[in-house]
């Protein structure tokens, strides 16, 4: 049976067909839908959102120890978090097959850096497969488990955004029964990396590498396609498909396995073709390793950029060089851009409006709220990695001493806090910080499309479970001042932030506004607000909240005067189809020009 599947859906299907028993992940674009698909489609697989990628990989290691096939999936930067267990997992190996899926993000569509995770395979001395379409994504996942068990190694499968989020036709098969029994095992020397055991294991890893090299030479996913021998392309993953698209007549060495590399096969290819060009997105990983073997490709990163995502046109341009003719643009005027934005009614908006009003610097973190760095809010000032805001705010407090008092905060989302924010918050209490941290608790993992986490009270499959109480957690860590605020109430929000940033001891403010898209948290939405066009003077106070429902419209003639004769150039307009009625604009309007249609205006919503 055939089905159209995204790369992520195909990876999930591959896990199912391979007989995976345990799958763990933390959401992260472009990897998120792998576990979501498993949770939705393949009920016999245990699936969990772990609080972070390190935990997810450790869960998979435990399941593999017990003999089960296990998978952890994450975005590229997630592997940094999971790198600690990964490096030593390479030493201990597996019982049941273990596959770590990394989804890289060339072009940084939704990421903070553009790292190339092929380096991790070399670094950790583990094999890595890289599919070039959905069908291969499924096949390589299954193969990954076989290779993992056969060579006693974790296996990495690398995708990129363009694989994860592209659909292609996939041939479905029935699931297999994995060969390793699931049972309790005591294998102290295999799994306990005390120096004496680990020294032995390092030798085993090096021997394993030699065996994997032999495997790579014979692996049919590494294949030579000889057409015109004048030009030979060495490529892998999505770049191979782009190259085949524009130069179907060239010869190819298609590498399905990007680590370790098959030296003999590469030598054979160099003999068969005249001029070799290496085509790969991001770092010159294949190129440098091929050169280190003593081969001399004519083209590589001298023709193609290390930065950004490829596409067929970039390949064409790189190969043709001066002979390349760019398509003629038919329209060249600059158009209004359309950057992503906080939603109408978003609970983060009031906090960032207040941070801006108080002229605070905000050490930021990773989530929807990172968008507050853009105009018109312009009120978030850093984004490094999950949880970094808290350590940064503390570090600023120690560097600035008294001079920083009242001038900065750290802001972090609920899911991000649980991912990487607890140790740095503990540190703030332990090392006597005066910094103030705001947890933007919107009760979901918003940016990746609303996933559950330990603070939501639900598992990935919607079962009720323990829900973390942020206030009690902070108190337990030793944070003296813990406050909650309604982030849609600007007066209250400003008062609480002002009080806390002046204190000498660490403070935590937890906002109590759920993500406006999370229907289950709202008893109801409010009626949309309206602008009284007779009163509005076009001061843009509401417009500068950056709400997509509010627009500024120029006025002329009669409309260029208010009822009491004041001149105005434009007025605000609220799109009633977009406005959920959070009443932030109602609060910032000094002229009473924004009218509530609710009998008794409430700031924010009646939530569950």
């Amino acid at each position: 049976m055939k089905k159209l599947m995204t790369g992520n859906e195909a990876i999930a299907r591959g896990a199912f067909e391979a007989g995976v028993k345990v799958a763990a992940a933390y959401p992260g674009t472009p990897s998120t839908e792998i576990l979501e698909t498993i949770a939705r489609e393949y009920k016999n697989i245990y699936a969990e959102w772990s609080p972070n990628e390190k935990v997810a990989l450790e869960v998979a290691i435990g399941a593999s120890m017990a003999g089960a096939r296990a998978m952890a999936s994450m975005k590229h930067v997630g592997v940094n978090v999971a790198a600690d267990p990964l490096m030593t997992l390479s030493y201990v190996g597996v019982n049941g097959g273990l596959v770590l899926v990394t989804c890289d993000d060339p072009e940084l569509y939704s990421s903070q850096n553009e790292q190339d995770n092929r380096h991790y395979a070399r670094f950790a001395k583990v094999p890595m497969f890289e599919p070039s379409d959905s069908q291969e994504a499924k096949e390589f996942l299954k193969l990954g488990f076989e290779v993992s068990e056969r060579f006693d190694t974790p296996v990495m499968v690398r995708g990129v955004t363009r694989i994860s989020h592209s659909k292609g036709v996939v041939e479905l098969q029935e699931p297999v029964v994995p060969p390793v029994p699931i049972e309790i095992r005591k294998q102290t020397a295999k799994y306990t990396m005390l120096p004496s055991f680990a020294r032995v294991k390092h030798g085993v890893v090096e021997e394993r590498f030699v065996k994997l090299l032999e495997f790579a030479e014979k692996f049919p996913g590494n294949r030579i396609e000889i057409n015109d021998p004048a030009i030979g392309i060495i490529s892998a993953g999505i770049s191979y498909e782009y190259a085949k698209e524009v130069f179907p007549n060239y010869s190819y060495l298609k590498l399905g396995m990007v680590w370790p590399l098959p030296k003999n096969l590469i030598a054979e290819f160099f003999k068969k073709v005249k001029k070799v060009i290496v085509i790969e997105e991001l770092d010159p990983f294949l190129e440098e390793n091929i050169k280190a073997m003593g081969f001399k490709p004519k083209g590589g990163k001298n023709l193609f950029s290390i930065c950004g995502e490829f596409n067929p046109l970039i390949i064409k341009k790189g190969i043709l060089g001066k002979r390349f003719k760019a398509p003629q643009p038919v329209f060249e005027e600059a158009l209004p851009p359309r950057p992503p934005n906080l939603c109408p009614g978003c609970p983060h908006r009031g906090i960032f409006h207040t941070i801006k009003k108080l002229k605070l610097v905000a050490a930021g973190d990773i989530g929807c709220y990172t968008l507050a760095a853009y105009p018109p809010l312009n009120s978030l000032d850093s984004c490094i990695c999950m949880g970094a805001s808290i350590g940064q705010a503390h570090g600023m407090s120690k560097a600035l001493e008294g001079a920083g008092k009242g001038k900065f905060v750290g802001v972090i989302g609920d899911s991000t806090f649980l991912h990487g924010g607890i140790p740095p918050l503990m540190n703030m209490a332990y090392n006597k910080s005066y910094a103030t941290i705001i947890i933007l608790d919107n009760r979901t993992t918003g940016m990746t499309g609303s996933q559950e986490h330990p603070g939501t009270g639900y598992t990935i499959r919607g079962e009720k479970t323990h829900k973390i109480d942020f206030v009690r957690l902070a108190e337990g860590l030793g944070i003296e001042n813990v406050r909650t605020v309604n982030p849609w109430n600007l007066e209250e929000t400003e008062k609480v932030i002002k009080e806390e940033i002046e204190k000498d001891s660490p403070s935590l403010i937890v906002t109590q506004g759920p993500c406006v898209l999370l229907r289950r948290e709202f008893k109801k939405y409010n009626k949309p607000l309206m602008v009284d066009s007779t009163k509005c003077i076009g001061c843009k106070a509401c417009v500068n909240l950056g709400c997509p429902a509010i627009s500024y419209q120029k006025v002329e003639g009669e409309m260029a005067l208010t009822k009491d004769g004041k001149k105005r150039k434009g007025i605000s307009y609220i799109d009633s189809t977009l406005c959920p009625g959070c009443h932030l604009c109602y609060q910032v309007c000094k002229l009473g020009a924004i009218q509530s249609q609710d009998e008794k205006p409430i700031f924010g919503f009646e939530t569950m």
Partner: protein
Amino acid sequence: MDNHTTNVLVVGVGGQGVILASDIMSEVFMEAGYDVKKSEIHGMAMRGGIVSSHFRFGKKVHSPLIMEGEADILFAFEQLEGLRWLNFLQPKARIIMNDHKVNPPIVNLGEMEYPQGIPEIIGSKFKDFYLVKGTEIALQIGDARAANVVLLGAMSTFFDIKEELWLDTILNYLPPKVHELNRKAFATGRGEIHQA
């Protein structure tokens, strides 16, 4: 089937159902016996950003991405987005565009104007151009969200594929309670092109 691959670019704004429409199209063409690939970027786009979906069908499709200057069909759900992607089209491309505007934030802030006369600009450069009142029709039928199905109805008239396959595939993606509404949306959309 010849070796030609047809390139369809589906564009709009997050929340308009662009991805659903391209999902439906890909499935229709797979069922009709073609190799199909399609690609789009989700993630931050769902926060009101630009959505563009590349959809390609033919005998054997390699790249999921369309090359600039090679799209055969532009399927635009919003005027400004239609204009934005013109440079992806080959000179004789066909354009089916929803007659609908969604202001980007910078226009809401009053810092840039929404471009005027977009249908005229497009019409002056591409002859095979159809403007469909998708959102307006969907609102008349009863739900603005059905605009993508009205537009699919219009789009479907350009291919030699049975109407039932389109309709069955569309309804398969939607909950039963909105089937009647979407049947009507699809049929009305088909009618729009015959009149054009």
